[in-house]
């Protein structure tokens, strides 16, 4: 059964130096509060995994928490570059960042294999692109039934997956709805999980197209109201598009970035 903890307790228990860490969220429900707590607790040498590393990974990378990134699209959606990510790749600042680069289809299938307890997944993908030459985890495989050559990618089985959801009940059953990306698969693929929620309620009333993660399938649940800001939690908050635009200027310059992180993350206690 999931244990209901505070956010700092959850991060301390779930995330260790050197871990392979997934924080998923597809524009919606991105676990920013958890990412900020990881930065405050000073985790190092993380292998960060995410299909769409956006601002929270830019922050983790810029604060020196990561040594490797496994990803398929690293940008500020609708705005442009992730400047801290680029600075790490182009100039090794503040640290070199090793890349393992995939496509969305490949990453999604890697989570699916992890959640299914399989060693790899099969897809039609990557053929003719320059990605297989740079990424060792993309390999051809021959179908034993038809002889067709397809592409294999290994399962992702992270040490820990963190996601943000709308709510949980007091037993730790987690409910989420709206755009859910690959979060269910990412939680089920992981050895440990931490789910931050907007609120804990007595009982979960059903929502259209909901996903429920049963309490026995997760490790920790922590309340973090507004914990996906500047992303959003459908039914609770709206996406702060203005902040995504502002981040471009904040993150462009190393000193401006460090000052912003000091004022807005390092000196702030976590909510709740």
């Amino acid at each position: 059964m999931a244990e209901i903890v505070s956010l700092p307790e959850g991060i301390a228990a779930a995330v260790h130096d050197g871990d392979t860490l997934v924080m998923e969220g597809f524009t919606h429900l991105i676990p920013f509060a958890a990412g900020h707590e990881i930065i405050r607790q000073g985790r190092r040498d993380l292998t960060l995994v995410r299909m769409t590393p956006d601002l929270v990974y830019d922050q983790l990378i810029g604060m020196g928490c990561a040594s490797k990134l496994i990803f398929s699209w690293g940008g500020n959606p609708g705005v442009g570059s992730l400047h801290r990510f680029r600075d790490a790749v182009e100039n090794a600042w503040p640290l070199p960042l090793e890349l393992e680069e995939h496509s969305h289809a490949g990453m999604a299938n890697r989570y699916l294999a992890g959640a299914s307890g399989l060693p790899f997944a099969v897809l039609r993908g990557y053929v003719g692109t320059d990605l297989p030459a740079q990424t060792d985890t993309i390999r051809p495989i021959t179908c034993p039934f038809t002889g067709e050559v397809l592409t294999a990618v290994p399962a992702l089985s992270p040490d820990v997956t963190i996601i943000h959801a709308q709510r949980a009940d007091r037993k730790g059953n987690v409910q989420m709805w709206g755009i859910l990306g690959v979060q269910k698969e990412a939680v089920l693929a992981a050895k440990r999980s931490l789910i931050t929620v907007e609120e804990i309620v007595d009982s979960l009333d059903h929502k259209p197209q909901e996903v429920v993660l049963p309490s026995f399938a997760t490790t920790y649940v922590a309340v973090a109201p507004g914990g996906s800001h500047p992303s959003y939690a459908q039914g609770y908050s709206l996406r702060d598009n203005g902040f995504y635009t502002e981040w471009d200027a904040i993150s462009k310059d190393r000193d401006t970035f460090l000052r912003w992180m000091d004022e807005n993350v390092m000196r702030r206690a976590p909510a709740a």
């Binding site: 959606p77 680029r86 969305h104 692109t129 755009i179 990306g181 197209q209 459908q234 996406r239």
Partner: protein, 253 residues
């Protein structure tokens, strides 16, 4: 008499005209999303828009800033998971048109969104990466690309093939086993390019009003071929311009 308009507006209008009622379209964010929604509000109200965030049949009344904006989920016929979008909907060939943009495109319509510079480990510019594009370019029945044309974006060979157009020429898509037929048109701020049926090389088939074939050639990093029956694109109608400007004003709102 048509009102004054910008080259970007002409590009978006020309791109929107590639979509028809009932077309099932996998939409990339940015220029493709603007054009796809312009089509939906003008000539193709029943175009089906699919975003890789899992929203099938999204009908936003304003332009999303990101492919996962709430307005897409709220207006979709159904919201599915990301593995489902790629495995059930894209991979088996259920989608008519993949609508993509690019940082670089080459004479065989291969697309680069990964790195600028020839050393992947030490790039001049690190771009966002592949996202959904490699499999969109492979598996949609056809592909429409929209991007601004400059000698830096239209290059002889892309620095990195993120998504395959026609590889190194005729027969490559079949040899690679790609199920879709590849890029059908590339819409730019100068005109419209299509692959030559024999050579697969991108060739200028239409120029936008006010642009010439010479302008387009000067903005291309290889000796651009020009169709013998070069057309002139119809200028934006008042309705197209009006709807486009109203949509642009809602971006990310």
């Amino acid at each position: 008499m048509t009102a004054a308009y910008t080259a970007d507006e002409m590009m978006t209008v020309a791109a929107a005209r590639q979509l028809h009622n009932g077309t099932v379209c996998f939409v990339g964010i940015g220029l493709p999303s603007t054009a796809a929604n312009l089509a939906r509000f003008t000539r193709a109200p029943d175009v089906v828009l699919i975003y890789e965030s899992g929203t099938l049949g999204a009908k936003p009344d304003r332009l999303p800033l990101s492919i996962g904006d709430g307005i897409l989920a709220e207006t979709a016929d159904v919201v599915v998971s990301v593995p489902e979008v790629f495995n059930y909907w894209l991979q088996p060939g259920r989608i008519d048109v993949g609508f993509l943009s690019a940082a670089q495109i080459d004479r065989y319509a291969n697309i680069n969104t990964t790195v600028i510079g020839t050393d992947y480990r030490n790039p001049k510019v690190r771009l966002p990466g592949a996202g959904g594009a490699p499999e969109i370019a492979a598996s949609c029945r056809e592909v429409v690309v929209v991007l601004r044309q400059t000698p830096r974006t239209f290059v002889d060979r892309v620095d990195f093939i993120t998504s395959v157009g026609f590889g190194r020429g005729p027969g490559d898509r079949r040899r690679l086993g790609l199920s879709g037929s590849g890029p059908r048109v590339v819409i730019t701020d100068f005109g419209i390019l299509s692959p030559d049926p024999e050579t697969c090389e991108l060739t200028l088939v239409s120029v936008h009003p006010g642009s010439t074939a010479e302008d387009a050639r000067a903005a291309t990093g290889w000796p651009l071929g020009v169709s013998t029956d070069l057309a002139t694109t119809d200028p934006p109608t008042d309705e197209e311009l009006d709807v486009l400007r109203r949509l642009e004003a809602t971006k990310g709102a």
